[in-house]
């Protein structure tokens, strides 16, 4: 446990507003991106972003500094996203809780896809980025955590509350799904 992590845990336990302000600044891009990838809806991602930090305030004393802060943060955000999806009956996000028990993913709805499309379509590598939208949310999620956030397998397992073996299998399948979703990719 590093001194920084220990100091962070103590700050959270004290509900130190300065510590929370700094964390919000520091993780704003990463957390928002993760939530946008999960939900596909900017407005919902913003709501969940705020709710996540309220949850961090209220449950800061539970952070034990044994795991990385971002793993704990993403796990909170993920659980909130699943709760919201259950309330709103978003099938795609609910599958994050137990994707193996469901049929292969279908995009949540046209509105959600088009919202994310608007964001990603601005750049040059449109074809690749849009192919992301075709792959299941639970594969997109592990790919993001591994290759974008560069979390380790153990940290991803903490975020997802699943065994490392499940994380690995989702990553392998996710890579295959991403390649297949590319124009001209193997179906």
């Amino acid at each position: 446990m590093t001194d920084d992590t220990q100091a962070l845990a103590e700050g959270l336990r004290r509900r130190d507003p300065e510590v929370l302000d700094r964390l919000i600044e520091q993780y704003q891009q990463r957390l928002y991106r993760y939530l946008l990838f999960l939900t596909g809806e900017p407005a919902l991602a913003e709501d969940l972003f705020q709710e996540t930090w309220i949850r961090v305030l209220e449950r800061g004393h539970q952070y034990n500094a044994k795991s990385k802060f971002e793993s704990w943060l993403f796990a909170i955000a993920r659980n909130l996203a699943i709760d919201v999806s259950r309330r709103k009956k978003f099938r795609s996000l609910e599958e994050l809780a137990d994707p193996e028990s469901h049929q292969p993913f279908e995009p949540p709805d046209d509105h959600a896809i088009s919202a994310l499309q608007l964001l990603v379509a601005r750049e040059n590598e449109q074809a690749v980025q849009l192919s992301l939208l075709k792959i299941p949310a639970y594969y997109r999620e592990v790919l993001l955590l591994r290759f974008h956030e560069e979390l380790g397998l153990e940290e991803i397992a903490t975020v997802l509350s699943t065994p490392i073996s499940t994380v690995k299998s989702r990553l392998y399948r996710g890579l295959d799904a991403l390649k297949s979703a590319m124009p001209g990719g193997a179906a």
């Binding site: 509900r15 302000d21 600044e25 891009q29 972003f49 305030l57 992301l132 974008h148 397998l153 690995k168």
Partner: protein, 158 residues
């Protein structure tokens, strides 16, 4: 080169991305990719794909952090107020119970002092009433002062 070598290379390449390889496997894979144009091309395509994945342009709205910081601070103040109110109720209840059960003893004490000092009964009764009300009035003053300080503090921060 046989089919098994190509499929082993593909498997190892995926493994290198997901969980890493040991030195022997890494060396074998590099050698194979060096010699096999087809596998090398596929590996390069996958790398490009991941590069594109990493470059998906997503940025948080400019004021999202500020809005969240404000909301978190307001919630923290609200929670602090709620817990302070809960503590006040507990103290009040404990004080009330203590008062009810100790009143006969206190009254006897006042009566004894009154007899010793030869004080008139209204003075004793007034003293008895003040004995109970002064601590409560002090507690109310403290709470009101704390609330006023909280409102002023919140106002100056925002």
């Amino acid at each position: 080169m046989n089919e098994n070598a190509h499929s082993r290379a593909q498997k190892l390449f995926a493994q290198s991305l997901v969980e890493g390889l040991d030195a022997a496997e890494q060396s074998w894979l590099e050698q194979h990719l060096h010699e096999c144009a087809e596998c090398s091309c596929e590996a390069a395509t996958t790398q490009k794909l991941l590069q594109a994945f990493r470059s998906v342009p997503v940025s948080a709205p400019r004021d999202l952090a500020a809005r969240t910081q404000l909301r978190v601070r307001l919630r923290a103040q609200e929670s602090a107020r709620t817990s302070s109110n809960a503590l006040l109720w507990v103290i009040t209840a404990a004080s009330w119970l203590l008062g009810v059960f100790s009143a006969p003893l206190i009254w006897r004490g006042f009566a004894w002092v009154g007899t010793q000092l030869n004080l008139p009964k209204p003075v004793l009764e007034l003293g008895f009433v003040l004995w109970w009300t002064i601590p409560a009035l002090i507690a109310v003053a403290v709470v009101l002062q704390q609330r006023a300080a909280g409102v002023i503090g919140a106002g100056s921060r925002h």
